[in-house]
Amino acid sequence: MKYRYLKNVVTLQMDQEKCSGCGMCLEVCPQQVFTYAENVSWITDRDACMECSACARNCPRQAIKVRQGVGCAYAVLMDRFKLKGICCKDACRCSLDNIPDP
């Protein structure tokens, strides 16, 4: 069963022209957002995207763009009110910090 969140909000974009068809995005996506057809990847379930950015990070052609972030209301509120609290819960990737260039 696939959990569904809000519709038409996520920032995931893909430039089909740049895709080499390596299929890496399909492999790393934990939400099965992509499908493979005509030797390239296609975004076929954008609403399922959780903006983890695994696809964009692992795309050798930089064909994918997405705002990487943590879907955590607690972090959003902490950021909004400029507060610091416990973060990095086991399942939460905390922080709206800039992610260092790995």
Binding site: R57, G69, A91, I99
Partner: protein, 382 residues
């Protein structure tokens, strides 16, 4: 090999990188473990790059107790394994290399699945944060993978050039960049450690099910203790607030001041809210797939309204209309807020979605809670 025989041997892999705290204001994660005496070390392997500790694949009582404590937030930010190279079984130059985080819970859930296998285990320095979180923050990143490959002399130890990373490390690691920097090919393994033996047997191939994070009842409830511990403080403050209200009401109305009845009233008045917290922290995660709507605050709201109705039905005529109004405003606010907060514990919410939901839900929750508090206070003095 007995534990005593290798006691005091200098650790092969020493991390001299300055330890940076995970979040501002937090203590840096310094490992409290003296590795040669760690309960999870079962010997040592001599290799051409120096001695490598061998890791047990069975968890013992102290591992399980450590997991319980971490789940309740005790010492959780300091529950780490020293980064470095470890051995599972008796690996040789052809054995596969698994890469993981140095959060002890992650390390334990990995090694317990590897019994009977011969592998190398490369533990990165992720500041004691689990794989997914560390990848999101970049500490489980391309640079750290390349750094640890270099530091451990992995290229001299194994004849192949393949690293198996957990799939959930992909938000932080660019496979093509790792190859460019240290010559190793990154293969993304399954999401769950339990699927690793099957993945390895299949020649490093993951099937579709191995690529999906599960979010079962157990997964949804595993963070509930942590949520509850974080709610103890505000709930205690609220209990004190109710006690003071009871006290002031008694003073104003000239009722006799007796501690026991005052405490009794306070507890009576606290019950619907304590239950609301439990509804939010336990029932919302437990019933998540069955609750209507998509927004998590909405799911919380639905259960909160149900509980407010149930409480009113259970106490017919016992409460004033003001108090009932307060219950109908505050209880759904509590459950909706805890539901909103659960976004950070799910496997599927994106930042853009959460910002949208928070912008709509939070002001409404704050307003309802504020009005509810006014009604609650008024109920004591009308």
């Amino acid at each position: 090999m007995s534990k005593a025989s290798h006691k005091g041997i200098k650790l092969q892999v020493v991390d001299d990188r300055p330890l940076t705290p995970c979040c501002p204001g937090e203590q840096p994660a310094v490992s409290p473990v003296n590795i040669s005496e760690a309960n999870w070390v079962v010997g040592q392997l001599e290799t051409n790059t120096g001695p490598v500790y061998r890791v047990a694949t069975a968890l013992d009582r102290s591992d399980l107790w450590g997991a319980v404590k971490a789940r309740w937030g005790v010492g959780r930010m300091n529950y780490t394994v020293p980064p470095g190279l470890y051995a599972i079984g008796a690996p040789d130059e052809n054995a596969a290399v698994l890469v993981s985080a140095n959060y002890k819970l992650s390390f334990d859930s990995l090694r317990r699945e590897l019994s009977g296998l011969n592998l190398w285990l490369l533990v990165l320095d992720t500041n004691g944060i689990n794989v997914w979180c560390a990848a999101g923050k970049g500490s489980f990143g391309t640079a750290e993978v390349a750094r640890m490959v270099g530091r451990t002399g992995l290229a001299r130890l194994v004849s192949h050039r393949t690293l198996i990373l957990p799939q959930l490390a992909a938000p932080g690691v660019a496979a093509h960049e790792v190859r460019r920097r240290c010559g190793f090919n990154v293969v993304y393994g399954p999401v769950r450690a339990a699927d690793l033996p099957a993945f390895l047997r299949a020649g490093n191939k993951a099937d579709a099910a191995m690529r999906r994070p599960s979010f079962t009842l157990r997964d949804r409830l595993v963070l509930t203790p942590l949520e509850l511990t974080s709610l103890i403080k505000p709930l205690s403050g609220f209990a004190l607030f109710l006690f003071l209200l009871n006290l002031s009401a008694a003073l104003l109305k000239g009722n006799p001041l007796a501690l026991l009845p005052l405490l009794g009233h306070t507890i009576d008045h606290l019950v619907p809210f304590v239950v609301a917290v439990l509804v939010g922290a336990v029932l919302v995660p437990a019933l998540l797939p069955y609750l209507p709507g998509r927004a998590l605050a909405w799911k919380g709201l639905v259960l909160g309204v149900l509980w407010a109705f149930a409480y009113t039905a259970l106490t017919p005529g016992a409460e004033s209309w003001l108090r009932n109004t307060a219950h109908f405003l505050i209880i759904p606010s509590i459950t909706a807020f805890i539901g909103l907060n659960f976004t950070g514990s799910t496997t599927y919410t994106s930042l853009s979605d959460v910002i949208k939901e928070t912008k709509i839900a939070f002001p409404l929750i704050a307003m309802a809670a504020g009005l509810g508090l006014i009604a609650l206070v008024a109920a004591y003095f009308v």
